[in-house]
């Protein structure tokens, strides 16, 4: 079965729709949303509605730090992010907020672990930004495959002999064999706010039967999404990031 892994949607409806269409066309049989449904983008309510519908059909959903910030804005967030969080709080229905607050931090299923940040301590929102951070997460996940987001660049880590983690920057659209004899951690990329100078939405597919993972980039109308952010009166810097993929 093909599982579509989507993370860091950040309220970007256009990017989400493009990725879901791409996943449907590639016959994805399951969906996992790895947190940060909101924050930055202009369509938090519509995004939460879509994801909640997938949840009711059995999709895996975990909570991200931006989802959590709706309940209590943490101190580490900068002014423009705070502005978006406050705006999002006003725009979201109570049901949507309850839905986000009810999400688990980490879901383990068979040989897979789904988490927004690190499985080592999901509530601390540590970034997987090094092989050693990846290794800590893989060790804590107790799973063959760990899927996460939070870091926006698509990355594949794997444990080498001796327990050291190695890092690989995947090419888009190329199937990578990820055999069960090793342990893997995939950062699936950001749907709604890629930051590698490529505005195309990012998501990943895992083919459980063939033990293969494929990282995708999906072009979408990012200029329209940026325009909506401006129209909503949100910080211009955020619209600019979506426009340029930075």
């Amino acid at each position: 079965m093909i599982i579509a892994l989507l993370s860091d949607i950040h309220g970007n409806l256009e990017a989400l729709q493009a990725c879901l269409k791409h996943a449907t066309e590639s016959r994805a049989g399951r969906y996992a949303f790895l947190g940060d449904l909101v924050g930055y983008g202009a369509d938090p309510q519509k995004v939460v509605d879509i994801v909640a519908r997938y949840a009711s059909e059995g999709a895996v959903i975990v909570r991200g730090n931006h989802d959590e910030a709706l309940a209590r804005t943490p101190r580490y967030m900068n002014d423009s992010v705070r502005a978006v969080i406050n705006w999002t709080r006003e725009k979201l229905s109570k049901d949507a907020k309850d839905f986000l607050a009810s999400l688990p931090l980490c879901v383990r299923e068979d040989e897979m672990c789904f988490v927004h940040a690190s499985a080592a301590s999901p509530e601390r929102w540590d970034y997987i930004d090094s092989p050693s951070a990846a290794r800590r997460s893989i060790d804590a996940a107790q799973a063959t495959y760990t899927f996460c987001g939070h870091v926006h660049d698509q990355t594949l880590y794997f444990l080498a002999a001796g327990g050291k983690a190695s890092v690989f920057s995947p090419l888009q659209g190329k199937e990578i064999p990820v055999g069960r004899h090793r342990r893997w951690l995939a950062i699936v990329g950001s749907v709604g706010q890629p930051r590698d100078n490529n505005p195309a939405a990012a998501y990943t597919q895992f083919d459980t039967a063939h033990e293969r993972i494929t990282f995708y980039r999906v072009p979408y109308d990012h200029l329209a999404a940026a325009e909506k952010i401006r129209d909503a009166g949100l910080p211009l810097s955020i619209a600019h990031r979506v426009e340029k993929g930075i």
Partner: protein, 474 residues
């Protein structure tokens, strides 16, 4: 029982695994065991590789097996064994592939030194195989005569991908510095330093194999220490012609260019090596070809000093690296040198060349080859005509002011220009064909019309058809 032979102990000739029946046990290697197998109707003979497991299994052997299991199924073409099946590495690891019929270069080398023509032919076939891998974003990294099988059709297949690098997949060996990076006599300087992502490493190994074929000796011996391996970062090999006087200057030029310690100074694409080996008269000779000594002590010391600071280059896909050194072929109609379309073809060619650095431009003219008759008088007249067209080609290309090493001129004789161009492009790994569209008058001539459209339709590479718009055409 030797503890290292557990695999053999478990799987014996006659036993079955996943529907494959194990036949003759044919090899015990560092990675494990190899059996002939039957059990699937593939139409070709098959072998099964089984990694050594349990006690006595080396980590290196297992990683090599895993790497091969990753890379081989992703490869296609006549230069690799066909993949049949693989078992799960978690449960029953095995790999079933085609058994490539033929003789290994190692066996052929028993007769070395080989005559230069023979060494060049085999070297070109090896370069073809290497180029085919590079175009698939794979670097072999363990090229040696043992791993090259000459097939009955003259093509060459590469086997053993236990050290290979595939740019699309995580590199399992990247951080395994404690393991050997290749076979000591053939390994490139940058591999000694830990680089695994440079296709030019295969070109170095190709140079070592060529050297061995041409002289019967290894250019750097068989070093057994890291210090000994590092010598090739700065030391020159003894020029091939010193070891074997039959080696012609052009072959020494090709071999020593492959063996340049700095990858930038080597051929940038195996296709260029194959081209030179097949067209000796087009090899531009530099001081490499006439070297009878290793470089002076001072120069070697300077290189040694530079080598101390050598490090890995930034990562680029093998295919993009090779694509930066394209072979561009322009079809020039030397029978009509004053045709108004010639300048347009020149401009288009210059434009294409300006886009790439390490190109090789092949200028080809096809003349009607009606004279296949025997007899000295006829062939003299033919070669006279041949020379005349070469001169016209040279005149045509002169305004582009290309250094000789970038250029190659060929007059082909054929009754079918289309077939001649297509065949020449295919066998020389041409990346782009530039040719003129037929002029309005020529459109009437069926054979001319077929050249441009036939080449465009049947070429295996890109084709740039240059057309001059009619005045007033809208």
């Amino acid at each position: 029982m030797n503890p290292g032979e557990r695999t053999v102990d478990r799987y014996l000739t006659g036993s079955e695994l996943d529907g494959f029946r194990l036949g003759e046990h044919i090899h015990t290697g560092a990675m494990g065991e190899i059996f002939r197998v039957t059990g699937r109707d593939t139409g070709f003979p098959m072998i099964m590789k089984l990694p050594r497991s349990g006690r006595g299994a080396s980590q290196e052997g297992l990683l090599g097996f895993e790497t091969e299991s990753l890379v081989l199924p992703a490869l296609t073409g006549p230069h690799v064994p066909r993949f049949v099946a693989a078992g799960s590495l978690a449960r029953t690891p095995y790999l079933v592939t085609e058994w490539v019929e033929g003789e290994s270069l190692e066996q052929l080398l028993k007769r070395s030194p080989l005559p230069p023509v023979e060494a060049a032919r085999l070297g070109a076939a090896l370069a073809d195989a290497v180029h085919s891998l590079h175009l698939q974003d794979v670097i072999h990294l363990d090229l040696k005569p043992d791993n090259a099988i000459v097939k009955p059709d003259g093509r060459l297949a590469l086997i053993d991908f236990g050290l290979a690098y595939h740019a699309h997949f995580p590199d399992l060996l990247a951080e395994e510095r404690r393991f050997t990076a290749g076979s000591a006599p053939y390994i490139s300087p940058e591999q000694v330093l830990g680089t695994r992502a440079d296709p030019r490493s295969d070109i170095f190994a190709l140079g070592v194999v060529l050297y061995e074929m041409a002289t019967g000796e290894l250019p750097f011996g068989v070093p057994s220490t890291l210090g000994g391996l590092r010598d090739r970062l700065w030391r020159d090999p003894v020029p091939p012609r010193v070891r074997e006087t039959a080696v012609p200057p052009w072959l020494q030029e090709v071999i020593l260019r492959c063996l340049e310690p700095n990858a930038e100074d080597r051929y940038q694409s195996a296709a260029h090596v194959a081209f030179d080996l097949r067209n000796p008269d087009q090899v531009v000779l530099t001081d490499r070809s006439s070297r009878f000594n290793e470089s002076g002590l001072m120069e070697q010391v300077q290189r040694w000093w530079r080598a101390r600071g050598m490090h890995s280059l930034p990562r680029r896909l093998p295919r993009s690296q090779v694509a930066a050194a394209p072979i561009i072929m322009v079809a020039v109609d030397t029978t009509h040198p004053d045709d108004q379309r010639q300048p347009a073809l020149q401009r288009a060619t210059a434009q294409m060349l300006s886009l790439s650095g390490e190109f090789r431009l092949i200028c080809v003219s096809v003349i009607r080859g009606a004279r296949v008759a025997e007899g000295a008088g006829v062939s003299e007249a033919a070669s006279e005509e041949h020379r005349e067209h070469i001169v016209r080609l040279l005149h045509w290309v002169e305004p582009l002011r290309l250094p000789p090493r970038r250029l190659s001129l060929h007059v082909l004789e054929s009754a079918s220009p289309e077939q001649a161009l297509l065949e020449f492009a295919r066998s020389n790994h041409v990346d782009l064909i530039v040719l003129g569209a037929p002029s309005p008058e020529q459109v009437r001539l069926a054979w001319w019309r077929s050249v441009a459209s036939g080449v465009t339709a049947n070429a295996r590479c890109s084709v740039y058809v240059v057309r001059i718009p009619e005045p007033g055409d809208t």
